[in-house]
Subunit: 205 residues, 2 copies
């Protein structure tokens, strides 16, 4: 199909499609002449993924990393998560002190060498941000964070599709990135419900 | 103190401080002459909060909303979360279909009118993003999301400081925004730990 048909089928405007082509998010169509290219179902599917990621607040740079991970799945299921997470997590910051983060994630069952460094660095950066404003998470709350995230991960990993590396990468990468805004929104709704119960009456309107 | 001392004490460069002043994130110092202004502890503290938010990946626009919520706490604890969440959540999208989101959050104990519309819209947008790429969260996984977020919220709300509205707003707003990257990082670490256990050997490197 032509770029105008690709636009009509996906609801993405032609200038936006051209922008994604220039940014390398969408692969070029098959050249049919000097000024025309042909697009297929692969492009329709890829445009849906791009829109979902950008609408979820993922940056252009991270979207490029996510698409790269989808295009180039690792060979073994064992490396899957590390590779996928490394692709979608900002690069490590060597100067960061990991002591506190390592102590914390031990509560998840983590042992040294057990996960991609980028993910551990992300945890350390988050702790640093809290510390910098003098915000300390109470012990009981932190214990609940650890227990809940471990339970969530167990449920998610139990559901990783086993039929192909491609299906597994798609599940892991999209599941990591696109489920995040859902989890955060559910936490905020739950906070308002819980607050309404604690402080009585309706929790605002 | 002068702007150069404010810079030395916080490690934020003078041009960056001037940028925050122009963007309205940092209040002006007290004018001591036509070209000089005096800054105090309030500015040091505010710069720490700004840096923590921006480093956590919060946008300038959202940072401005968060700071607004810190400066203008609601009068009653009952309205606290709704007001704080409305301040830090993108505006509602009227065209969004909320049916599926409402069905889902009923599992958190939510009832109609019980939370700020912006938060419900955020959940609906997240569900829409998943649906658009054909990603369906398995029932067992979704049940774990709901149960975990409710437990987390209960622990968090139980810990809201009661001494003043200002302390409570600070706890709620910074707790919402700055804890988010920590939760997401913990989820990724837990996924790698869980994956390592399921697929055997080390989970990546």
């Amino acid at each position: 199909m032509r770029i105008s048909e690709l636009s009509a089928q996906t609801g993405v405007t032609v200038p936006t499609i051209k922008y994604y082509l220039r940014e390398g998010l969408l692969p070029e169509g098959e050249r049919s002449s000097a000024t025309q290219a042909a697009y297929g179902e692969k492009h329709v599917e890829r445009l849906r993924v791009i829109r979902a990621l950008l609408d979820a607040g993922v940056s252009i740079a991270e979207t490029r990393r996510v698409l790269g991970a989808l295009d180039d799945p690792p060979a073994s299921a064992n490396d899957l998560l590390g590779t996928a997470h490394a692709a979608i997590t900002p690069p490590v910051d060597e100067a960061l002190d990991l002591t506190e983060a390592e102590r914390l994630v031990a509560g998840l069952g983590w042992k040294p060498g057990m996960c991609d460094p980028a993910v551990l660095h992300a945890a350390a950066r988050a702790l640093q941000g809290l510390e910098r404003v003098g915000f300390s998470v109470q012990d009981a709350v932190m214990a609940e964070y650890l227990a809940s995230m471990r339970r969530i991960a167990d449920a998610e990993i139990a559901g990783v599709p086993g039929e192909s590396a491609e299906a597994a990468v798609r599940y892991v990468v999209l599941g990591s990135v696109l489920v995040e805004p859902l989890l955060l929104a559910l936490r905020r709704v739950a906070q308002q419900v819980s607050s309404g119960e604690r402080f009585g009456g309706d929790a605002g309107s």
